[in-house]
Symmetry: C2
Subunit: 435 residues, 2 copies
Amino acid sequence: MPKLDQTHDPKLQSWLASANGHPDFPIQNLPLGVFSSHSGKPRGGVAIGDRILDLGAAIEAGLFDGEAREAAAAASGETLNEFLALGARARCALRARLSELLTLGNPDRSHAEACLHVATDCTLHLPARIGDYTDFYVGIHHATNVGKQFRPDNPLLPNYKYVPIGYHGRASSISPSGTAVRRPNGQTKLPDSEDPRFGPSQRLDYELELGVWIGSGNVSGEPIEITKAAQYVAGYCLLNDWSARDIQAWEYQPLGPFLSKNFASTVSAWIVTPEALAPFRSAQPSRPEGDPKPLPYLTDEADQKEGGLDLQLEVLLRTPAMREKGLSPHRLGLSNTRHMYWTVAQMITHHTSNGCNLQPGDLLGTGTISGPDAASCGSILEATVGGRNPISLPSGEERRFLEDGDEVFLRARGQREGFAPIGFGECRAVILPAL
Amino acid sequence: MPKLDQTHDPKLQSWLASANGHPDFPIQNLPLGVFSSHSGKPRGGVAIGDRILDLGAAIEAGLFDGEAREAAAAASGETLNEFLALGARARCALRARLSELLTLGNPDRSHAEACLHVATDCTLHLPARIGDYTDFYVGIHHATNVGKQFRPDNPLLPNYKYVPIGYHGRASSISPSGTAVRRPNGQTKLPDSEDPRFGPSQRLDYELELGVWIGSGNVSGEPIEITKAAQYVAGYCLLNDWSARDIQAWEYQPLGPFLSKNFASTVSAWIVTPEALAPFRSAQPSRPEGDPKPLPYLTDEADQKEGGLDLQLEVLLRTPAMREKGLSPHRLGLSNTRHMYWTVAQMITHHTSNGCNLQPGDLLGTGTISGPDAASCGSILEATVGGRNPISLPSGEERRFLEDGDEVFLRARGQREGFAPIGFGECRAVILPAL
């Protein structure tokens, strides 16, 4: 697990005023991403306050040495895959140097300032070329809520508390925050209809998830032990796994969700490192009395002690009418990564337990992370109980599912007494009407 | 649909003697792949008889002009993705020139001969960087046979005859023929046991499938119409979708197969083009009386008339004892691509009907293609009825599922009166014991 060091000091101030007290990107965060400005190609950068530090420019200005320079070079291209593959040591060297460089009083300030771009003038891209995308189902309240709609007496299937359930998703249709999502057409079948019909989904939903970026990979045939699994994580993001519930209900038997999910997924563009999240590690929440113990290959004392994460997760909605009236996005759910039944290390170890190989830049999703009550749902399917109880919005509107023009925002935030709070940045998209 | 031209003439003979009458690679086939010889890097080549033509070397020797030269250049690198993206026109130009160049009497023979490598001295690699891999379930006899083992009275689910069922598989663990497959460990639960156990799969299986390489892709949000879907296919291969049935049974609810499949998939290394397969197109077999018509978005007259394929598919087994006794591989099943309930065009149109974007080098699998009887099963689960009826082998051994050291071979072959028969080359792998 990452150690706490001077880069986590909450008293650390940057010479860049906008970084100090920035809700997402104070000097204690330093997430990496890929951006482009008006003129240049997509290239690696670091978010700091309302600016982006151009890593390639900073190398040319001579601001890095040794291992930090190697890491910065690997992170300066069109994707961060090469950087992700380097692992923790190089990542920490870069973080230490970035923290020093951006700290108030650093003599290299003027050189570094010349490498900053105004973030709102830049375009953010996917931070890595995603080889494979796997989505898990570790939010036990989500699994229970959804299960209840299908099987009121037996919401959780018998495998749930033994197997970190997951499945493969679509890598090609993952986009960075801000990319609009077109409502999918598809086959749906109403309960009282004999035949299915083809047309726009009527039950379009969001899913509030944490994304995990894989760093170094494993060789095919060689599992990753639970005691080492955390070392394979290069960072985290927000993930909205858009879902068409009516398409899903008709197609998912027997091979799982397909077209109901693969039309689009949205990620926040910045990779928040395990080092930045070190202050927000927590014990894995204890399993309810009577739950089975995880099998030995999924059991590790250190993981139980600090393999959990304590991050606030939030989903908000803004409709076209709300935009017109100047209303802020309305919160639909407030949850926390502590509601994960399995840790990220358990997800990785399970995923590779059969020898499956992970590669740098692979993306894992946790699945929807809902809390135990109605105010903490991570999908509208749960919040409206399958569309039966509409949500009331401050504009006077109601929603059972998402409508065209609706904009969905996800947010994540780490906050803990004695540490500087950090955020993940924007993860939003607007719904376009079906073709 | 590809047209028949002089490259399909069965009387065409090559100056390379081994090509004439070659079971897989006569001059009428000309599949593309990526190979390396002792010295060089992986690079694009064409299989002809028992040789491989080095495309980069042939360009340097001045053997290509115009569009054929452009296509050869795109196919001469470490992966064929760039070539696949070019589409049919460039592919046809290259095929026409290759056919001419290799035909008996061609004046460039000596220059071309200098670009040939002995195939058995070369290593074959994956022909493309696979972005996403999707596996379908279009073999209706397979779906019925497997369904019967779970639901004797109702083997096919209600969606089967409306939806070309598919799901996302794992791209990272796909290997070319010859790569050994390690038996996976995983969670399994016996019916009479209260808890699952973790250990080597006891029900390891093969799956006999046709693979489809995607050529040009579609833009996210823009479906591919059924009338145009065939244009997006760049070629075909064999695909063995190894499956651990005991892991599958315990894990697959509710999100589908995951670790039971993603430890390994094996493909034949040569991309057999739609042009090479033009003589083996056929009408889509008519649906049994009473089956629903496909929905309009999946209906196209031309596809019904010639969107089917008539390729013989075969799976064979050789155990260590058979190898020791010098016995040939034993046929476990003989099937045909005519047992597909949905065409490749219907798979592509369905896949993109929600706007999902396909990319050059994506791989689609058809799912296991079994025939209607016991001798035509494409998986051992079907051939032994879930392990109940063991298969007898010429070595005196029996098999209920695959054992360590077993080697599985897939074969595909097009043959039709008036045309030169062609094959797909080798798709084989041996099972290594679990770790």
